[in-house]
Structures are given as C-alpha cells and as structure tokens.
C-alpha cells in the first residue's frame, strides 16, 4: 500500500467548486433573533403601539359633535411629507425584511407602510376612514346628556371615565407620553452614557477619575425623591422653555439626565478591557488618531451592551414616568398619560368602574413587557457566547 497524501477534505480547494457564502455579523444576529420568538412578537407589538400613538391626532376627532363620524383626514404639509417618507421607507424596509427571511417583521413593517398609505390617500379625499373620539372632550349621548362612566360597549370599546371622556382615545394618546419618554430617555442615556463612559475608559488618569467621580455623584442621587421634587416644580420653573414644561418632554429630559450613570459605568468597563486588545495597538501603529480608534474600532465592539442596557432603561423610564404621574408629580392633567389614568381609575374602581384602571394598566404593563422581551432577545442575539435557553 502506498503512502497517501493529506486528506483532500482538509483543504478548501476552490477548484473543486466549493463555494462558501460569507456569513456576516448581521446574518448571525438575525438568525439568533429569529429563534427568540417572544422577542420578535414583542418587537412587532412595540412597532404597532408606537405607530398608533404617533398617528393618534390623525384619526381622533377634534370635536365630538355626534359620534364623530368619518371624513377626510386633515394633514398639514409637514405631516403629509412625513407620511410619504414613512410609507416609502417602510415599504422598502418590508421588502428587505422579506429578503432576509424575517417574515414576521416584514409583515409588521408592511402594515406600517400600508396604513401610512391609507392615511395619505384619505387626506386627498379618495377614501373615508373612520375616526374615534377625542380624548379631552366629553361624549354626549343621544339625548344630549353627557355619557359619564359608561361601561365598555359597542362603539365605546373601553368605556368612558368620570368626566365622560373616551378611555380608548385617552389610552392611545397616553401612549404618546410613554413614546416620548422612551425616545428621549433612550437617546439621552445612550448618548451621555456612551460619551462619558468611552472617554473615561479610554483616557486613564485625571480624565477617568474626574468623569467617574461625576458619574458616581449622579448615581448617588436617590432617583425617586429627586424626580419627585423636580417633577413637582417643573411646570413652575421660570427658566425653562414652554414645551419642556408641558407634557412628557420635561419629565423625559429629567429622567434622561438621571439615568445615564449605569450605562456610563458599563461602557467604561468595556473600554477598559478593549483598550488593551491587539487590534487597538495595530490601529495605532497604522497611524490612527484617538478619535478614529474610539469611534471606528472600539465602539463597534462595545455596541452590544449599550443596546441591551439602553433598552432596559427605556422600560424602567416608562415605569418611572407612570409612577410620577400616578402621584401627581409627572404629566399634569388633562393631558392623558397611563399613570395618571391609573390613578383616576384606582379611585373609582372600588365602586365597580373597572375599565379605566384595567385598560391603562394593561397598556402600561404590556408595553413595558414588550420592551423587556425585546431587550432579552437582543441580549441573546448580540452575545454569541451565551447559550440560548429553550423558550
């Protein structure tokens, strides 16, 4: 028997026609994310809620003359432009999702595209869409009297509250406050936390120490007591511009300013360890300056804990805003917010009027739950070293 050569299987021989598709990070991420069914459902739910909340003014009536029938939607020029962008953008995203085999997400995004198109079309007068009742006006009944404390039925699926306002409309509008909080807090925390953490982690010595002392200061503030104080005085602060004092934006900025500390610590820890890796040395040897190294080399590697942590903080922030509004120090009435509705609903619930409490609490819990599931799914998908649990 003659001696044999090395096994041919061990050598990737292009001449043999073996073609290997390069697998990108994105593909791996998508595969792992799809496996996490709860997370995808949660993501779709969030998309649905966000979209409905954003579009609320479009399909709620200005005045409740009768049951606010139907008619062409009125959209300003800006809104029309925005709607076109959303419709086209969503359409393209849906197409890409189907190509990446993310069928569920594709369906949801397609939904967004279709509804946006419907809005557009309705505003041009081609079709009529049904409206639902405005959140601040009281509903009159057939006999002209106000419909107070009506149980859910027919055209009033979530009933009316103590003042005769439609609970469904209020819940939808309440979502806007939570949405605002989510976006602003998420953005602020991600921005502040990443900037502070990366600088502290990258530049040792004075920069690190002083930045971390400052962060420790922020972290040392007891969250709820301080938030309550600020929330109490927010509408009366003379130095703030108008839009921050009303509604949820002020609260959102407040929470964003208080919650970034945890993320800063995490980012700093990541940077501390990544800074010592060889690819940083290589980049420096190739002549990259500090900013380039931070943004193009280290940061992309640190992105996964940033994303996961930010998602979880968004959930926490929404709960805190609801708590503040519940106590009366958050978004002030009559602007609807889920926390405030829960407060009102809890007061009338012992009488047997359960709907305001149940629907506002349900909206709140389901939204935060969805965010937490998404965060969990993102964590599983972004961290390849973790083993996935069977769900």
């Amino acid at each position: 028997m003659t001696d044999r050569g090395p096994s041919d299987e061990l050598v990737l021989d292009s001449a043999e026609g073996i073609s290997a598709e390069p697998i990108t990070q994105w593909d791996l991420f998508v595969t792992r994310l799809r496996r996490h069914r709860l997370a995808t459902i949660a993501f779709l739910y969030m998309l649905f809620i966000a979209y409905v909340a954003m579009m609320a003014p479009l399909f709620t009536c200005e005045k409740n003359d009768t049951f606010c029938g139907s008619g062409p939607i009125e959209m300003s020029a800006i809104t029309t432009g925005l709607m076109v962008v959303i419709a086209v953008g969503a359409g393209y995203l849906a197409y890409r999702s189907f190509r990446s085999n993310l069928r569920g997400a594709g369906v949801a995004i397609a939904f967004v595209a279709i509804v946006s198109a419907l809005f557009l079309v309705s505003s041009w007068g081609w079709i009529d869409l049904p409206h639902i009742n405005h959140y601040a006006d009281q509903l009159p009944g057939d006999d002209g009297r106000l419909l107070i404390r009506i149980e859910p039925r027919g055209s009033i699926p979530m009933g009316t509250d103590d003042l005769g306002r439609d609970v469904l409309a209020r819940v939808i509008h309440g979502g806007r406050a939570s949405l605002a909080v989510g976006i602003v807090v998420g953005g602020l925390v991600a921005l502040l936390g990443t900037v502070v953490g990366s600088l502290a982690g990258y530049y040792p010595g004075v920069v690190d120490q002083s930045l971390m002392r400052f962060t420790d200061l922020i972290l040392g503030l007891p969250l709820l007591p301080v938030a309550i104080v600020v929330g109490r005085v927010l509408p009366e602060l003379r130095i703030l511009p108008g839009f921050l004092k009303q509604g949820a934006w002020g609260i959102a900025v407040l929470l964003g300013a208080l919650l970034w500390g945890g993320l800063a610590r995490i980012v700093r820890a990541e940077f501390l360890s990544l800074r010592e890796k060889e690819f940083v040395e290589a980049a420096r040897a190739a002549g990259a300056n500090d900013r380039r190294i931070i943004f193009r080399h280290i940061l992309p590697n640190a992105i996964s804990p940033i994303i996961v942590q930010t998602t979880l903080i968004v959930g926490t922030a929404i709960i805190i805003e609801a708590a503040l509004s519940f106590l009366g120090f958050g978004v002030r009435p009559p602007i609807p917010t889920w926390g405030g509705m829960a407060s009102g609903g809890a007061a009338i619930a012992p009488r047997g009027d359960w709907w305001e409490l149940v629907f506002s609490a349900g909206a709140l819990i389901s939204t935060v739950l969805a965010i937490n599931f998404m965060g969990d799914g993102l964590r599983d998908a972004l961290d390849p070293t973790q083993t996935i649990e069977r769900k």
Partner: protein, 408 residues
C-alpha cells in the same frame, strides 16, 4: 480596607452636599413657598409677614441655603449633669440590657488588643457586640441623650423635623424590613429551586412570572392588591383580612398591652394585617429580580468543576448543594440587594402613598406638596445618607463572603 471606608464616607458626604444644594435650588427656582396656602386668605397678612421674617423667605436663595445649612449641622445643647442623672433614672429594663451589652462590647475591643482567639464563640461575640454598639449609638442619638442635629422646625407646624422623621422612619423601617425579608426568603429559595430543576415546568413558569412582575409598575401591584385582596376578599368572605390604610387600626391602643412595653400578640397581629399588603407590593418586584439573579448564579455554580470534585470525593448530594454550591451562589446576591435598597426606597414612597402608611414616604409627599423646606431637605438627605451607608456595607460584606476579594 479602613482607608477605603473612610474614602467612601468622605465621598458620600460630598454627594450629600451636592444633593442638598441641587434640591434646594430647584425648589427655590420654582417659586413655590410654604406660605402659598396662607396667601389665599387676605386676613393672614400680618402672619405672613411675621413668618416671612422668621423663616427668612425674603432673602436671596444662597443666603437661605446657608441659613438652612448652619441650622442643620449645629448640635443642640447637651443636657447638664443633673439632667443626665434624671435620664438614667428613667431608663427601663431594655436600656439597661443595652448598656450592659455596650460595656461588654467595649470589653471586647480592649481584650482583642491583647489576646488573639480563634474560637467560634469569639467571632460570634464580636459580631454581636458590634451590632449592639451600633444599636445603642443609634438609640442614644435618637433620644438626644448625647447630642442631636437641629434639623429645623417644620414649616407646616409639625414641630421639630428630627422627631417627625424619626417617628416616620421607624415605621418605614418596619415596612422595609418586612419587604426585604419577604423578597429574600421567598425570592432566593425560588431561584435556587429553579436552577436545580432547570427547564422544568416550575422553572419556566417562574421565569415568565418574574418577567411579568418585573414589567409591572409598583403602584399597579399595590392598587391591584388593594382591590383584589382587600376589597373583593372582604366582599366574598365578609370579614376584613387585609387592611389598606394606615399602620394600625383606630382601636389599637385599647388592645391589650404586652410584656415589657413591647406590643402584645393581638397588637402585633393588627400591625401585620396592615403591613401585609404594602410589604408584598414592595417585595414583589425585588423578589422577581432576586429569583432570576439567584437562578443564574446558581446555574453557573452548578456547572462548575469544584462541584464535580465534591461529588468525586463521595459527598452526599445535600451537602454538595448546601455547603458547596449555595455558599458560592449567594455571594453576588449581596451586591444586588444593596443596589436594590435604593429601588426599595422609591417603592416605599409610592406604596406608603397608596396605603396611607405613616412612614417617611408619605411624610415626604406631604412635605413636597406644602413646600416644607426643612422636611424636604431632611428627608432627601436622610435617604441619600442611607443609600451611601448601604453601599459601603455591601462592599464590606462582599469582602467577608468572598475570600478572593479580601486579599487583593
């Protein structure tokens, strides 16, 4: 280790300073004053003028801040000698026991300078005496035997802030302790059991419940508990099992007094009936967090090599789990609990509002609404100081539990 503690304490004080300044400025800039309610009444003009003078409300904000600061850190006069004797005469049995233990603790401190003892009883004695010293010091400060800080007089006319807060703090402490106990004694075993029976139905159910609880705001839990366990239950059963308002019923003082001035069993029962729902509200979210965390920690430990070694040595399963696995799995919980204390305080504020529990939280909310500066500042600082202490204690505990950290 010692230097580290001192450094942390100093830094904690700086934090508290910053905190006080920030809060003070915020309230000032809002333009709200404690006299807002009085201003509605036109006949109160002279009173308003007097109070403004007295409380210095017309001065610029930094001056007001310094006034407050000066008052805050100035101790009141120490009672004279005769006064001390009178006080000692009035001490009850509890106080004498405490003093005896205190002296015993001092004895330990002196003895340990000369003698090095390794026995177990010595360690217990040492731990016990530290606790007694802390307790006695606390009590002495509270009763103003030695000195106390002048935290000002409440703008609402409730009297000295110090006393108000101490009374309320005791109640909040009871609530918090009950909640912490619930969360630890239910959450941790749940997590451990989930890890042992991984992937079972119990495990998955537990995980799902944890998720849902974690996503529910605390006030919803409180309100739901109120509605379901109190109102509905009462309607079904006809008798009040859980109370929703306050700490004690109105007939509390008529209940039989107990031994040595401690509450009697029926009095305790009354308190428990009031305590149950608020404590569960606060505990629920923490419980969810602890059980998930403990599950993860336990799982990690269970797959470790030293457990395999233990089994190869021939140790029975129970010993392996309790002595080897748990001991390692519990270490990270300490940090988690200390970080959670801050959350619990926030939860207490909300829960006390819902349930009318006479604690610091409710005090705080009331003070905020009435813009009662001294109370607000005092509460915020007390909470801040509490959090700082908890973090330091957590660091120390971590060193005690994990020998790897000790020798770094």
């Amino acid at each position: 280790m010692f230097a580290y503690i001192i450094r942390r304490l100093v830094y904690g004080i700086v934090t508290l300073f910053a905190l006080s300044l920030v809060v003070f400025m915020l309230i000032q800039f809002s333009g709200g004053t404690p006299l807002d309610r009085l201003k509605l009444n036109p006949r109160m003009q002279s009173v308003i003028a007097q109070l403004t003078e007295l409380w210095g409300l017309d001065k610029p904000w930094y001056e007001q801040y310094f006034i407050w600061l000066k008052n805050f850190v100035t101790p009141v006069d120490v009672p004279d000698q005769a006064g001390l004797m009178v006080i000692f005469g009035k001490l009850g049995i509890r106080s004498w026991v405490a003093i005896a233990a205190f002296l015993g603790a001092i004895g330990y401190a002196i003895a340990s300078l000369f003698v090095k003892i390794e026995a177990n009883w010595w360690r217990t004695y040492r731990a016990f005496s530290i606790i007694i010293v802390a307790f006695v010091a606390f009590w002495m400060i509270k009763s103003r035997i030695v000195f106390s800080l002048n935290w000002g007089i409440s703008f609402r006319g409730d009297g000295p802030v110090w006393d108000t807060i101490f009374g309320a703090a005791g109640n909040t402490f009871r609530l918090g302790l009950a909640a912490l106990g619930l969360a630890l004694f239910i959450g941790i075993p749940l997590g451990v059991y989930q890890a042992i029976k991984q992937y079972s139905f119990f495990d998955q159910l537990g995980t799902t419940l944890s998720f849902i609880t974690f996503s529910t705001p605390i006030f919803i839990i409180g309100v739901m508990l109120q509605l379901v366990l109190a109102y509905q239950l009462e309607r079904w059963l006809g008798v009040k099992i859980f109370y929703v308002v306050g700490m004690t019923s109105s007939g509390y003082d008529q209940l039989q007094r107990g031994f040595l001035g401690l509450p009697s069993l029926s009095q305790l029962g009354d308190v428990v009936q009031h305590l149950a729902l608020p404590a569960i509200s606060i505990a629920a979210i923490s419980m969810a967090g602890y059980s998930r965390f403990q599950r993860a920690s336990m799982l990690e430990v269970m797959h470790s090599d030293y457990l395999r070694t233990a089994k190869a040595k021939g140790l029975p399963r129970r010993t392996i789990i309790v002595k080897h696995a748990l001991r390692n799995a519990m270490i990270p919980i300490v940090t988690l609990v200390s970080l959670d204390i801050a959350n619990m305080i926030g939860g207490a504020i909300i829960t006390e509002s819902i349930f009318g529990w006479p604690g610091v939280g409710r005090l705080y909310i009331g003070a905020i609404e009435a813009v009662d500066y001294p109370t607000i500042m005092a509460v915020v600082l007390a909470i801040g100081a509490g959090v700082v202490m908890m973090n330091i204690i957590a660091d120390i505990l971590y060193g005690v539990l994990d020998p790897r950290v000790r020798y770094d």
